[in-house]
């Protein structure tokens, strides 16, 4: 629908794989960083006068 594919990520890490966890967190963060702030699907707060 126009949300960049990189914003939603899936992975599979065993509870013993702490290094993979660190690895994936870093990669996901990098990927989202390059996409920039999310503009899509964000619900703007209603303006209360």
């Amino acid at each position: 629908m126009g949300v960049e594919p990189g914003r939603l990520q899936f992975s599979w890490i065993s509870s013993a794989e702490s290094t993979k966890f660190v690895d994936v967190v870093t990669k996901v963060t990098e990927a989202v960083k390059t996409l920039g702030p999310n503009q899509r699907f964000v619900k703007k707060e209603a303006k209360v006068a």
Binding site: G2, V3, F10, K27, R40, F41, K43
Partner: protein, 315 residues
């Protein structure tokens, strides 16, 4: 398709007389042209009101959910597939049903016709291949194939997949149609274009939920849009709320939707929300080689695990 009405009445009378069923669900003429309405016939007099023509686009599987009585139901290709889905999801038992199969050559698009004639549509009649429209601006005739509903034009399952009686010989299935041309076009867009496309698609939505109510799959006792704690989606016409509603509704139909077109037909502002359900339908076909409602013998892909399920999206 013209002589179907008589045959349906004949079968219905017999079924009611033999006490095979408590009622027949079919169609009767609506109060305005091209708007046949569902009809629940319990007596022989009710049965005389039953009709079948090219305006029976409503999906009758919608009226079977959690019914307790024995029911005879007229079913075209898509209805029968939704009945199969209903049976698989334990919303009705096969034993309760007597399915009157109706081979279908497509339903006509009332909006398209209203747009092609001048003035108000007063009367619509049809013969085998021709639709004759009388409007306040004059008379016009169309070839039926030119005024079909979009989903019917690309339908490849016109004949019922389950039935106990048939009103006529099966019609030939369409083989030379490109079902997903429009979906591919959207797949080729970049996120920017896609966002704009759906913005435009849904800009008229008034959140009336007619699409949800017309859909035989949308039978949840409490729909997610009506939940308040937590509230998943706002109730306003905010563009993001509209998108969230359509997006999640489409996802609930993944692997279940038969592209019967009831949602689009019911929409008062003419939104083609089938673009979302069709994409998921295509994905199910591509990923799991699955088309909803074709058989009672296998479980849908989303409630059954197979070791070779695709998992390329998981890192």
């Amino acid at each position: 398709m013209v002589n179907y009405s008589d045959k349906i009445r004949e079968i219905s009378k017999r079924l009611l007389k033999d006490c095979k069923v408590d009622m027949i669900i079919g169609f009767r003429k609506g109060s305005v042209p091209m708007m046949n309405e569902p009809h629940f016939a319990r007596t022989a007099e009710d049965v005389d009101e039953l009709v079948w023509d090219s305006n029976c686009g409503i999906n009758l599987a919608n009226y079977l959910t959690d019914r307790k009585e024995k029911i005879g139901v007229a079913a075209k290709g898509c209805d029968s597939r939704n009945i199969v889905t209903h049976i698989l999801e334990n919303k009705i038992k096969r034993e309760q049903l007597t399915i009157i199969g109706v081979p279908c050559k497509g339903m006509i698009d009332k909006r398209k016709i209203a747009g092609l004639v001048e003035g108000e549509v007063l009367e619509v009649t049809e013969d085998e291949e021709q639709i004759n429209v009388k409007s306040s601006g004059g008379k016009k005739s169309f070839k039926k194939t030119e005024v079909l509903q979009e989903n019917c034009a690309v339908c490849i399952h016109r004949n019922p997949v389950v039935y106990d009686e048939m009103v006529a010989e099966p019609v030939p299935e369409q083989t030379d149609v490109d079902r997903y041309e429009d979906v591919r076009k959207i797949e080729e867009m970049d996120p920017e274009q896609r966002w704009a496309y759906f913005d435009d698609l849904f800009k008229e939505c008034i959140r009336c939920y007619a699409c949800r109510n017309a859909c035989p799959l949308c039978y949840c006792p409490t729909c997610f849009v009506d939940e308040a704690k937590p509230q998943w989606v706002g109730k306003s016409q905010d563009p993001i709320d509209i998108r969230t509603f359509h997006f999640l509704r489409a996802y609930h139909c993944a692997g279940r939707c038969t592209d019967c077109g009831a949602c689009q037909r019911a929409c008062p502002v003419g939104i083609n929300m089938r673009m979302l359900t069709k994409k998921l339908e295509k994905d199910c076909k591509d990923l799991y080689n699955w088309e909803a409602g074709l058989t009672l013998d296998s479980r849908p892909p989303l409630d059954f695990y197979r070791p070779d399920d695709p998992e390329d999206f998981i890192k």
